[in-house]
C-alpha cells in the first residue's frame, strides 16, 4: 500500500552542517497491522515518519501511496492526502497553545464541515477513552506530559484516518497507560487500519499486537522482522 523506493533525506544540503537523516531506504508497508520503527536517538525515525505522512518531501527517491506517486504531487493534493488518509501524533505533541483540549482535538475536523454537535460528541468520546474527560475544557498548556500525549493521540484519531502515524506515542506514559494505548492501536489494526509507530520503549516492541519491527541506524534500514 505504501512503498518507499530508495528514499533519502538530507537536511541543509551543501552547507557545512549537512545532515543525512535517511539514506536510501526502500520499504513496502501493507495495509493493516502495526509496524514499529525502532532505532537509537537520531537514527531518522521521525524523519521517515514525516516523509510517509506527506509532511515533508524526500531529497531523493520515490514514495507511492496505493500506487500513486506522492513525492512530486503539488502541495494542494498533499493536503488532500494528509487530511483523508493520515492521522499524525508528533513526538513533541504540537498542540496549539491557547485552545482547550477539546478544541485541539476537534481542530482537524473543522474544515470538513461536519455538524458541530456530532463532532464534539465524537471528540469527547475519544477523550473519555483516554481518561481525559475531566480535562476536556482545560487549556492545553496546563496539561501534564502524559495528558498532552494522549490529547495528541485523540487529535490524530478524530478524522478516523486509514493510516495512523504515531511518533513515540508512549514516551510520556506510564506502563499501564502504554498498554492501554497499545491495546487501542491493536484494535485499530484489526479493523484494517494501518498503524505506524516509532518507539524505543521495549514495552512497545515486545507487545503482542505488533506485527512488524523495522530497525533504523544512522538513517539506514538495518533490520526488518515480522512477529
Amino acid at each position: 500500500m505504501i512503498a518507499l523506493h530508495e528514499v533519502s533525506k538530507v537536511f541543509n544540503q551543501g552547507q557545512p552542517n549537512e545532515c543525512r537523516a535517511l539514506r536510501e531506504v526502500s520499504l513496502r508497508l501493507e495495509r493493516g497491522g502495526i509496524t514499529v520503527f525502532k532505532g537509537p536517538s537520531g537514527s531518522g525515525k521521525t524523519t521517515l515518519l514525516t516523509l510517509i505522512g506527506c509532511l515533508a518531501r524526500p531529497t531523493a527517491g520515490r514514495i507511492t501511496l496505493d500506487g500513486r506517486l506522492l513525492s512530486n504531487l503539488p502541495e494542494r493534493f498533499l493536503t488532500e492526502v494528509r487530511r483523508h488518509t493520515f492521522g499524525f501524533v508528533f513526538q513533541q505533541f504540537n498542540l496549539i497553545r491557547g485552545l482547550t483540549v477539546l478544541d485541539n482535538v476537534m481542530l482537524p475536523a473543522y474544515p470538513l464541515g461536519k455538524p458541530h454537535r456530532e463532532l464534539r460528541d465524537g471528540a469527547r468520546a475519544l477523550l473519555d477513552r483516554f481518561g481525559l474527560g475531566a480535562k476536556a475544557d482545560s487549556r492545553v498548556e496546563w496539561l501534564s506530559g502524559g495528558e498532552a500525549q494522549r490529547t495528541a493521540l485523540a487529535r490524530a484519531l478524530i478524522n478516523d484516518p486509514a493510516v495512523l502515524i504515531a511518533d513515540e506515542p508512549t514516551a510520556n506514559l506510564d506502563s499501564a497507560l502504554s498498554r492501554e494505548v497499545l491495546a487501542l492501536l491493536g484494535e485499530l489494526a484489526t479493523q484494517g487500519r494501518t498503524v505506524l509507530i516509532s518507539s524505543h520503549d521495549p514495552l512497545v516492541f515486545e507487545a503482542v499486537q505488533v506485527d512488524r519491527i523495522i530497525e533504523l541506524h544512522d538513517g539506514r534500514m538495518v533490520g526488518d522482522s515480522r512477529c
Binding site: 505522512g53 515533508a56 518531501r57 493536503t79 488532500e80 496549539i96 473543522y110
Partner: protein
C-alpha cells in the same frame, strides 16, 4: 481627523468644478490687498481675456457664537442692500430663519440690521454651512469698503489652454498682482475659503502612513509562534485555503472593530466635542478665523471610502504573510 478632512476635500473638488479660470489678487508687501476697480479695465484690455469681474467676499467674526461667517456678495441673487441669505448651520445655531433680522457690527462699530430672505439648502455642503450671501452695497457698508475696490477679480479667458500665457501678461502689466490659475486654486487654499484643508491633509497623510507602518509591522512580524501554528494546522490536514479563511475572518473582525470604534470616536470628537482634542493645534488660526462647528454629516459613501483606506489594507496585510506561511512545507514551519 479623517472625517474632517474627508468633508473638506470633497468640498474643494466641487468648488474647483465651477471655479473661474483665472483669479487675480492684488498683493501688497506679499499680502492680499483690496484690488482697485481701475485694475479691472487694465485686465480687460489684456489680449486673451474675454471678461473681468470684481468679486467681494470676506470673513466676519461673530462674537455671539465665537465663530466666523464667510460673507460673499452674490449679484445674481439680486438682493437689496439690507437683504441676506444665510447658510443652514448658521441659521440653526443663531436660531433664525427667513423673515428674521440678523444684526452685525459694521467696521465703524455701528450695528447693521439685515433682513434674512432665504436659507441655503441644508443639504448644501460643509463649507456652505457658514455662508452669508449679501448685496454689494451691504458688503461695502458692513466692512466700510470704498466703492472703487474689490476683493479680487475673476477672469474668463478666451482659450482656457492659454490661461498661463495670460497670467504671464497680467503679472507684467500689473506688477503688484498675483494671477492664480484654476489648477492652482486647489493648492492655494486661501484663495476662496480657509486653507485649513492643507493642514488636515498633512495630518491625514501622517496618520495614514503611521497606520500603514503599523499594519506592515503587524504583518511582517508574523511571529515564530504563529508560523508554527500554521504549520501544525497544515500538518493535521488544513488546506491553505482553510487557513487563509481563518486569518481573513480574524483580520476582518479585528479591523472592523477597530474601525467602528475609531469612527465613532472621531464622529463624537468632531461633531460633539467640537474637535476639542485638536483644539490647541487649531487655535493657531482660530484666532484669525475661529472654527465653525461642523454639521454632522454621516454619509455612506464617505464611510465606504474610509473603510477602503483603513480596513482593506489591514486585511491584506494580515493575509499576505499568512499566505506566505501557509504555502510553505508544514514540516519547516513547525520546526522553525
Amino acid at each position: 481627523m479623517l472625517l474632517l478632512s474627508q468633508g473638506l476635500r470633497r468640498e474643494a473638488t466641487l468648488l474647483l468644478q465651477d471655479a473661474p479660470e483665472v483669479v487675480v489678487q492684488k498683493l501688497i508687501a506679499g499680502r492680499h490687498d483690496p484690488l482697485p476697480a481701475a485694475w479691472l479695465d487694465t485686465l480687460r484690455r489684456i489680449r486673451g481675456v474675454s471678461s473681468a469681474r470684481g468679486r467681494l467676499w470676506g470673513y466676519y467674526y461673530d462674537p455671539a457664537i465665537k465663530a466666523n461667517y464667510t460673507l460673499m456678495v452674490a449679484p445674481e441673487r439680486g438682493l437689496a442692500a439690507d437683504e441676506i441669505v444665510v447658510g443652514a448651520a448658521l441659521a440653526r445655531i443663531r436660531q433664525i430663519g427667513v423673515g428674521d433680522y440678523l444684526s452685525l457690527r459694521a467696521a465703524d462699530g455701528r450695528p447693521l440690521s439685515l433682513h434674512i430672505v432665504g436659507v441655503l439648502d441644508s443639504a448644501s455642503e460643509l463649507l456652505g454651512a457658514d455662508l452669508l450671501l449679501l448685496s454689494e452695497t451691504g458688503f461695502r457698508q458692513l466692512f466700510q469698503l470704498p466703492p472703487e475696490v474689490y476683493t479680487d477679480a475673476v477672469l474668463t479667458v478666451r482659450n482656457p489652454r492659454e490661461a498661463s500665457t495670460v497670467a504671464g501678461k497680467i503679472a507684467l502689466a500689473l506688477p503688484a498682482s498675483r494671477p492664480i490659475l484654476r489648477a492652482e486654486i486647489l493648492r492655494t487654499y486661501d484663495a476662496v475659503f480657509h486653507w485649513r484643508e492643507g493642514m488636515v491633509f498633512v495630518a491625514l497623510g501622517s496618520l495614514l502612513l503611521a497606520f500603514l507602518i503599523l499594519a506592515w509591522d503587524k504583518a511582517a512580524g508574523l511571529s515564530a509562534e504563529e508560523k508554527r501554528e500554521i504549520g501544525i494546522l497544515k500538518a493535521i490536514g488544513w488546506e491553505t485555503g482553510d487557513i487563509l479563511r481563518m486569518k481573513l475572518w480574524e483580520g476582518t473582525l479585528l479591523s472592523l472593530t477597530a474601525f467602528l470604534v475609531g469612527y465613532l470616536l472621531a464622529w463624537w470628537q468632531v461633531f460633539h466635542g467640537g474637535a476639542r482634542l485638536f483644539a490647541p493645534v487649531l487655535k493657531g488660526w482660530a484666532v484669525l478665523y475661529p472654527d465653525f462647528r461642523l454639521t454632522p454629516a454621516v454619509d455612506l459613501q464617505q464611510i465606504l471610502v474610509l473603510l477602503a483606506v483603513t480596513v482593506l489594507p489591514y486585511i491584506v496585510a494580515t493575509l499576505i504573510p499568512g499566505w506566505r506561511a501557509a504555502i510553505i512545507d508544514p514540516d519547516a514551519a513547525m520546526r522553525g
